[in-house]
């Protein structure tokens, strides 16, 4: 499924076409440029020793912005660990992602207020959690004909091509189907699970997995923000009206390393990257905006300035991030506390205070 070719030409589609205003498309363009810039800046911050690790989204901007912008405020998102673009769409400032990678926290945003769950690192876990949440949406009467559609809700869960091999992800397909849960399974097939190509996970295209469970699966050009937006909107509408779940395979490419600790030159050829560069998700929108005269040089320059400012803000923020104090280790282990943890905290803080008193080094 494609609506915008790599050359920036608009193509029609019988089922999934979309009406897009110049304003909207400029917005999508701006989203993609800004999240890419935040991603590159964070990557650079890692190189400068400011972050322990970074997980790049480079190349997956269209998939994430398309999906993220298709969601309504009431919808709930369950990310994996690479969904910086979706986070952006949920109103989470890129600075709020840094703590995870700097090692100061496990995500600083409010998952309930933003309807964006904490990043999940154990591959696949979040898919079952998302299905449970979506079951709750259904139990709450938030879907189906009877309900005012403005109140209707659905859930989108994000995972990778590698994740499709995990038991949890497949159990999520079972549960989603059996409970008609309003959940969109959004798989970003970026062709690689660290060093392993898609063929190590499946014989057949991943969107076909859904057919084994009795719900629709569709592959979309994940580098085409319009197509991704259209398909995700449709899938969410399916869910909100009680026909969920839906599996979307966004066919895209991880243009950078798996993480800053990874060295892709050990396992993939540079040619592959070059070929995918021609399908860049941002370039094609830029070309189309140009061609349609929906944006001019001034506009592009303005977005550029905005992204410079964002990068500068990230840089500055990162360097000023406070190290949490030792008692963070012991806080919120339990909702109601624990005698054992409190005792350990007290003992450890007393122990630490020795050093302060003597001015000693540890």
């Amino acid at each position: 499924m494609q609506l915008l070719t790599p050359e920036g030409e608009r193509v029609a589609h019988p089922h999934f076409d979309i009406d897009i205003t110049p304003d909207e498309l400029r917005g999508l363009y701006r989203d993609m440029v800004l999240v890419r810039r935040a991603d590159r800046e964070s990557n650079a911050l890692q190189r400068q020793g400011q972050l322990g690790i970074w997980v790049p989204l480079l190349g997956q901007e269209a998939a994430q912005i398309g999906a993220g912008r298709a969601m309504r405020p009431r919808d709930m998102a369950f990310p994996s660990y690479r969904e910086h673009g979706v986070a952006w769409c949920r109103g989470i400032d890129p600075t709020e992602l840094l703590g995870i990678f700097r090692g100061t926290d496990h995500g600083s945003w409010d998952p309930m207020a933003t309807r964006f769950h904490p990043y999940t690192i154990v591959i696949g876990n979040q898919c079952l959690n998302a299905v449970g949440y979506a079951m709750g949406q259904r139990f709450d009467g938030r879907i189906g004909d009877g309900h005012d559609s403005a109140d209707a809700e659905a859930t989108v869960v994000f995972f990778g091509d590698g994740a499709t091999s995990q038991g949890d992800v497949n159990e999520a397909f079972v549960w989603g189907a059996v409970y008609d849960a309003p959940v969109v399974f959004f798989c970003q097939n970026n062709q690689w699970a660290i060093s392993e190509p898609m063929e190590r996970q499946s014989r057949i295209p991943l969107y076909q997995r859904a057919s084994g469970y009795g719900f629709p699966g569709i592959r979309v050009d994940g580098n085409d923000v319009l197509a991704t937006l259209a398909v995700t909107r449709w899938a969410l509408e399916e869910c909100r009206s009680g026909n969920g779940p839906v599996l979307i395979e966004a066919f895209t490419y991880r243009m950078d390393a798996h993480t800053t600790s990874d060295d892709p030159s050990r396992y993939r050829l540079a040619d592959e990257l070059e070929a995918w560069k021609l399908k860049d998700p941002i370039e094609r929108v830029k070309a189309y905006l140009h061609r349609q005269q929906w944006a001019d040089g001034d506009y592009f320059a303005e977005v550029e300035r905005e992204s410079d400012a964002l990068a500068a803000r990230l840089r500055e923020y990162c360097q000023r991030m406070p190290v949490p104090s030792a008692d963070r280790m012991f806080s919120e282990v339990y909702a109601n506390g624990s005698s054992a943890v409190s005792a350990q905290r007290d003992e450890f803080l007393t122990y630490l205070s020795q050093f302060e008193q003597t001015g000693g080094e540890r």
Partner: protein, 346 residues
């Protein structure tokens, strides 16, 4: 069954006469009543598990609840334990209070990853913004002549996992209150039920004030030596104490731990300071277990009081045997007394 419950349900399921003085109920029935009370109190409480609906669970703990509360509050789930816990987590995020039944102890392991990586950590990870009011009920332990994987005592795995609370009930009164307290708490609770004691009976006074969930309790006072135990071993240890009193004139103190993580060892320390001797009894394999933890802590806290090392009497560090051997495997009255003798003979 008391009037309180009788009012809301014309025909008490235990067949007792409504409006009468408290009658005796089993642990199984007490759990059923406790679940019912929790569900009546809070519409967000939902039950999930395999065969818990129409069948009422293989031990009938949820008997009649789907009929009365509907299929949306008592879910017969797909056969997938990771799914049960994983979906319960999502439902908890959505504001529900799921109570999951794991059919038998040996079937909790497919859910281990969701329990350890998500359930235990989400409160901490989100700095308290995401609460995890999820209860996982596990009928545990041996002694029922079952086939493999149906007699495990996996509680130590969870006690070793930060972020989980772990409790075990040993009698109907505790069963009734503890399950409700667990459901009411905003924390993930692993709730271990002594399956071979499901049919033990006691009077249930619904007007009593329950003891706090995370506290252990002295069930029998005595000065000769202390026994700490939990779950199915409590009955064994109480019987051992009676026998020791009759046969040897020993006066054993028996403490029901009730909370396995965090442990509430104050009553144990207090007791050991008086008796100088401690036996820890548990069905589970002893190696790197809750029993080890108790020994490690008591030898520290009561170093100068101990007149003998802490003695553990536990299941062996072997797989649970074929059931014809389980009487040998499970610490029985004699082995508990033997451990007491070891302690006294030091």
């Amino acid at each position: 069954m008391t009037e309180v419950d009788a009012r809301s349900r014309p025909r008490p399921a235990d067949g007792s006469d409504p409006g009468q003085a408290p009658s005796k109920v089993t642990i199984g029935k007490a759990l059923n009543l406790g679940l019912r009370a929790a569900m009546e109190r809070d519409p967000k409480v939902i039950l999930m598990g395999e065969d818990i609906g129409r069948l009422g669970g293989v031990f009938r703990i949820t008997d009649g609840l789907q009929k009365d509360f509907g299929e949306q509050r008592v879910l017969d789930t797909p056969l997938a334990e990771s799914g049960i816990v994983g979906a319960a987590i999502g439902l908890a995020i959505r504001g529900y209070r799921p109570v999951c039944e794991i059919q038998f102890d040996g079937f909790i392991f497919p859910a281990f990853d969701q329990i350890v990586s998500q359930l235990a950590k989400l409160n901490y990870r989100s700095q308290g913004r995401i609460r995890m009011p999820v209860v996982i009920r596990v009928p545990f332990g041996g002694g029922i002549g079952a086939v493999e994987h149906h007699s495990e005592s996996p509680e130590s795995y969870f006690a070793h996992t930060a972020g989980l609370k772990v409790v075990a009930c040993s009698n109907p009164v505790d069963a009734y209150w503890m399950i409700q307290q667990a459901i009411e708490s905003d924390e993930p609770v692993l709730f271990f039920e002594p399956k071979r004691r499901y049919h033990e009976k006691a009077e249930l006074d619904l007007t009593a004030t329950p003891v706090p969930l995370h506290s252990s309790r002295v069930l029998r006072r005595g000065g000769t030596a202390t026994i700490a135990c939990y779950g199915p071993m409590v009955k064994t240890c109480l019987e051992a104490a009676e026998s020791a009193a009759e046969q040897e004139g020993h006066d054993l103190e028996v403490i029901d731990l009730r909370t396995l993580s965090p442990l509430d060892l104050e009553p144990v320390h207090e007791s050991v300071r008086r008796t100088g001797r401690l036996v820890v009894a548990s069905e589970a394999p002893g190696e790197s277990s809750i029993a080890s933890e108790i020994a490690a802590r008591v030898q520290q806290e009561c170093f100068y009081s101990l007149e003998a090392p802490v003695v553990r009497v536990t299941g062996f560090d072997t797989p649970y045997p074929p059931s014809k051997l389980e009487e040998e495997y499970l610490p029985d009255l004699d082995r508990v007394l033997h451990a007491v003798e070891q302690s006294l003979g030091w």
